[in-house]
């Protein structure tokens, strides 16, 4: 095994090319440590552009190697994309959050990755470059190939950054999770919401729940159902029901029964929606 801390993008690309499938990109490596490491590893976390957090050209942009701790404590993320801060602050333990990255959270492709669930709720896109030098942008929700497997091939592709539109006037986001304990536990269910209100009515909504599929899942029917409605008790209980009806889950001896998980999907999605709407109505609450 070799480990290269790349100092620029060219070095990353050429190392992957030289590795011809036997070298792969790594950022925080917190998940990779749990696996056998047959590869040459190319660490991109020293590239200046991969740790940037900025608002530019109408987008919040985060480098792929931004750590969970950095994202969770960034004033920009807290005010413009609270869901991401909330997702990042619950991952693993403090030590994991100090090393693990949001790009890694997406590419690792775990079904209920907290940062990824928040990013998909926010409508984030990933900027990816391959070893031929082709750049492309793909929405994060389309980056799941299979269970624990990303579309991004880390032996020939590099995720450079993630970007999404900031939650500005009338918009809010939120993330919720439920786990067997308060740290170091995969969620039984996590959820995120982004909502845009106009005159108190829902104009746009994105609702995400996991783990109900190999990928965090948009609840498209529930989203559609709430367009044009105000977020009141009736809507919330409607969402609770609709969200649970929209997904299929299985019993898990280690986590919980399917029935309870469905119940949690409803509760967590509606909680995320309610909080996101509160933040949309009162921008002062965005940072709370």
């Amino acid at each position: 095994m070799s480990y290269l801390i790349a100092s620029n993008l060219d070095e990353v690309i050429s190392s992957l090319r030289d590795g011809s499938g036997k070298a792969r990109v790594v950022a925080g490596a917190t998940d990779l440590y749990l696996q056998d490491l047959p590869y040459g590893l190319v660490d991109l976390s020293a590239l200046p552009e991969t740790t940037v957090i900025e608002e530019k050209d109408g987008f919040v942009k985060l480098g792929a190697a931004v750590t969970h701790t950095a994202a969770a404590s960034s004033p920009l993320v807290l005010s413009r994309a609270r869901a991401l801060a909330e997702g990042c602050e619950t991952i693993g333990s403090l030590q994991i959050r100090n090393i693990g990255t949001i790009g890694g959270n997406v590419v690792n492709a775990a079904p209920a990755a907290d940062a990824a669930v928040a990013l998909i709720g926010l409508g984030a896109e990933a900027v990816i470059i391959d070893i031929e030098g082709n750049r492309r942008q793909e929405s994060v929700e389309n980056l799941y190939w299979a269970y624990n497997r990303s579309v991004v091939d880390s032996t020939r592709e590099v995720m450079l950054s993630l970007q999404f539109k900031p939650c500005l006037g009338g918009e809010g986001s939120a993330f919720t999770r439920f786990a067997a304990r308060r740290a170091l536990a995969l969620p039984m269910v996590n959820a995120s919401a982004r909502v845009k209100l106009e005159n108190g009515l829902v104009k746009e909504a994105r609702l995400v729940a996991a783990p109900v599929n190999p990928a965090p899942t948009r609840l498209l029917k529930t989203e559609e159902l709430i367009i044009g409605r105000s977020i009141n008790e009736e809507t919330i209980s409607m969402v609770e029901k609709a969200a649970a009806e929209e997904v299929e889950v299985r019993d898990s001896l280690l986590r919980c029964s399917a029935r309870y998980r469905l119940h949690l999907v409803g509760v967590l999605v509606s909680r995320a929606l309610k909080t996101a709407a509160d933040r949309a109505l009162d921008p002062g609450k965005a940072g709370e």
Binding site: A180, R181, A183, D251, L254, C256, Y260, H263
Partner: protein, 760 residues
């Protein structure tokens, strides 16, 4: 170069009361210098690995080790068929070092290998070919007891590993005349002790000294006896030398006997030192968790809350081999009966063999499992009678002078004071709305006689060193619970010196006095009493030698002796005087504590311990009605453990015991899938993190008990006991429903609140 540092002398000098004395060994741990079992390495050391059964129950048809033996670097390969294979065990001799004819659980030891490195040993294990014929298996203990169930051991027909029926008083009459009978079924899963350091053992065989096992154990002397017998070695040719222990919590009283015996056999057969270290997965799948229990319990009460009687039908899950399960089942089935004035009891307990992981013990020996059932029933009864659960407990709890239904003699006892203090501190009279409150009480013996009726006490030596310091020789082990710090303080008090002048030596079985071990909460009371007696004996000998040296009578203060004419004599001077006049002997005090009064009859009735400790816990919780999530806000732990020797380590015991109690209440428990452990890692077997724990408030009700040293008693196991009942009662108070199946997960609470049929 050694830098001069001024000696810190901030501790209350030679006093037991109120000190925060910190044993210097703590520093070797926090600075990473302590050498644990997993750190050990020896010149020429080989690495051992165990081949385990993949089947829950199967006949071994053939074991072919040819390919494994041919691998370069492999030094020894053992199979059951090649060994003398003497049966061994703790309560029951039902184990062999390696399986011969059949395997009885997934993880059963089939073969063992020693090789030059771990990777080679793992390859060799994989190269062993075993042909099995699968047999029907049974996983549920009540099914195992039924006629026609697959049988595990020929000499234990019906899969009954142990059973007991007892009746004291006339239960039927009591229940017939009761105003109220409450009855419920409770289930408690198997629990892993989850000590941080997996078990590791380096065995060294030497033609002159015999076998030395370098491994950390709570009861090295007990393990030494079993290993000597299993190896057919003379006892004096087996020595256990303990490195620093990375946690025990009862799980290392006997640790993992297979590991010790197999590492010894591999060392004997290879001629080299052999280290076997369990992986965390092996700890979970082939370690020795505490037995799971199903408790059907009913209680008869009068309308004023007076308890009239209790009946219990208990089935405990032994797993494939017995370990300590009979003894744990015994404590589980009776100790809780003695915390209240219960005139009659009727109990049946059956320990069933199943094709699952064998069992051992955990802090509190099943007393905490029964606490969950017994204390839930108290609150169920109080609710039905419209009584305050605090008043009902105060009405019934034992007091000084009582003799309990099992014959325990209640000596000094602050139980009702513990109850009142815990209730006051939690705000029992000013409960907040939206919160749930629960209470629970406990009694636990200080060194019970269940291990060996003939051997009931402890002994120790106290030696004055030539530099004036004191060394205590004791077989009692310290694995972080603070025993040795307490011993230093007890001896310091007897000798009127600073505890930092006292060192405790307990490392090797061949030199340390014999000890039953760090179990049954016996060390402070029984071991500590022996220390006190040894130190007092030494003190007398010092006086005698000093008077001889001074030529006149002497008195002592602050570690210095004064003669009546005003001569000062340092301890070192006296030590040298004795050394010179005896040509090299040391002044040595002997302490032997032999509690005469403890005994029990054939039915188990009698005063089984020299003293008992008491506790009452109070808990405040909240339940999220939409998810069932339980948050424990505060826990007050009021304890009567006599005079507290060391408040610093005592608080540590309370924090740790409460954390483990909350783990067992709300998080932990083995999950099985067709006999296979489904949560065999610390990822899936969830113990609480710091974030999951409440504010913990220890309160010490210091009722001095003359049974122990300077009025002190044990405070180890008991801390965990009341947590379970108190948390269960508080959760029920908040949720409005009872959960009778541990752990109390959010899902179970929500299901009960929503009225779902139980799905898991």
């Amino acid at each position: 170069m050694i830098l001069k540092t001024p000696e810190k002398n901030t501790h209350q000098y030679g006093k037991v009361e109120g000190t925060g004395y910190q044993s210097p060994e703590v520093w070797s741990k926090v600075t990473g210098k302590a050498v644990y079992g997993i750190d050990l390495a020896m010149p020429g050391m080989l690495h051992g690995k165990i081949l385990r059964s993949p089947h829950p129950h199967a006949r071994i048809k053939k074991v072919d080790t040819t390919a494994a033996k041919a691998l370069p670097g492999v030094r020894a390969v053992l199979t059951g068929a090649e060994l003398e294979n003497r049966p061994f065990g703790i309560a029951v001799e039902d184990e062999l070092p390696l399986a011969v004819d059949s395997v009885r659980y997934i993880g059963d030891e089939v073969a063992a290998v020693a090789a030059v490195d771990l990777r080679t040993a793992e390859r060799a294990i994989k190269a062993i070919k075993v042909e099995y014929e699968e047999l029907p298996a049974v996983y549920d203990p009540s099914e195992a007891l039924q006629v026609g169930a697959p049988q595990l051991h020929d000499n234990f027909p019906g899969n009954v590993a142990w059973q007991r029926e007892m009746e004291r008083g006339s239960s039927d009459a009591v229940f017939a005349g009761a105003d109220l009978v409450v009855e419920e079924n409770f289930t408690i899963p198997a629990i892993n002790a989850t000590y941080l350091e997996p078990i590791a053992c380096v065995a060294v065989d030497d033609p002159y000294t015999g076998i030395t096992l370098h491994t950390a154990l709570q009861s090295p002397d007990a393990v030494r006896n079993i290993v000597a017998k299993a190896l057919n070695y003379p006892l004096s040719k087996v020595n256990i030398n303990g490195p620093v222990m990375g946690g025990g919590f009862g799980g290392r009283v006997y640790g993992n006997l297979k590991v010790y015996i197999l590492s010894a056999l591999l060392a004997i057969n290879s001629g080299s030192p052999v280290k076997i270290q369990l992986t965390r997965e092996e700890e979970f799948t082939a370690g020795r968790p505490m037995i799971a229990a199903a408790i059907k319990m009913k209680m008869a009460v009068k309308s004023d809350g007076t308890i009239l009687g209790r009946e219990a039908d208990i089935i405990t899950d032994n797993g494939a081999y017995s370990g300590q399960a009979p003894w744990v089942s015994k404590t589980l089935s009776e100790r809780n009966d003695s915390v209240y004035r219960i005139p009659s009891i009727k109990t049946r307990v059956r320990l069933a063999y199943t094709n699952k992981i064998p069992t051992g013990q955990y802090r509190a020996y099943g007393n905490q499992a029964a606490n969950f059932a017994a204390e839930s029933l108290i609150d169920m009864a109080a609710k039905k009678l419209g009584l305050d659960p605090l008043e009902m407990r105060l009405k019934n709890c034992v007091r000084e002078g009582d003799i309990t239904v099992h014959g325990l003699k209640i000596g000094k006892c602050g139980l009702s004071e513990c109850l009142q203090a815990a209730a006051r501190e939690i705000g029992w009279d000013h409960k907040k709305t939206g919160r749930g409150y629960g209470l629970s009480v406990a009694i636990h013996a200080n060194g019970s006689l269940v291990f060996d009726k003939k051997f009931r006490g402890a002994s120790a030596l106290a030696r004055l060193e030539l530099d004036g310091r004191v060394t205590l020789f004791s077989g009692e082990q310290d694995y972080g619970q603070g025993t040795h710090a307490a011993f230093a303080q007890i001896a310091a008090r007897a000798l009127d010196v600073n505890p930092s002048q006292v060192t405790v030596e307990s490392k090797e079985t061949k030199t340390a006095p014999f000890s039953t071990g760090a179990l049954a909460m016996r060390q402070t009371t029984v071991g500590g009493k022996a220390i006190q007696l040894a130190a007092e004996d030494l003190r007398e000998k010092i006086f005698k030698a000093a008077a001889e040296l001074a030529g006149e009578p002497v008195t002592m203060g602050n570690g210095v002796l004064y003669s009546i004419t005003g001569q000062n004599l340092e301890l070192a001077e006296i030590a040298y005087h004795y050394h010179n006049t005896t040509s090299g002997l040391s002044l040595t005090g002997e302490g032997k504590f032999v509690p005469e009064e403890s005994d029990y009859d054939e039915s188990g009735y009698g005063n089984i311990s020299v003293a008992y400790s008491y506790a009452a816990h109070a808990v405040e919780v909240e339940v999220d009605k939409t998810t069932g999530a339980l948050t424990i806000n505060r826990l007050v732990a009021a304890h009567d453990s006599g005079r507290i020797v060391n408040h610093l380590t005592s608080r540590g015991q309370v924090y740790g015991g409460v954390a483990q109690g909350i783990g067992m209440s709300c998080f932990e428990g083995y999950l099985f899938d067709e006999g296979r452990v489904a949560n065999a890692s610390l990822v899936d077997y969830k113990i609480p993190t710091a974030l999951d724990l409440p504010e913990i408030k220890p309160l010490f009700i210091e009722v001095e008990d003359p049974a122990g040293p300077y009025g002190s008693k044990g405070l180890g196991e008991i801390v965990m006991v009341p947590v379970l009942g108190a948390v269960a009662n508080a959760a029920a108070d908040a949720a409005g429903v009872w959960i009778t199946d541990l752990p109390l997960t959010a899902e179970k609470i929500y299901q009960a609140m929503a009225g779902w049929e139980c799905e898991i």
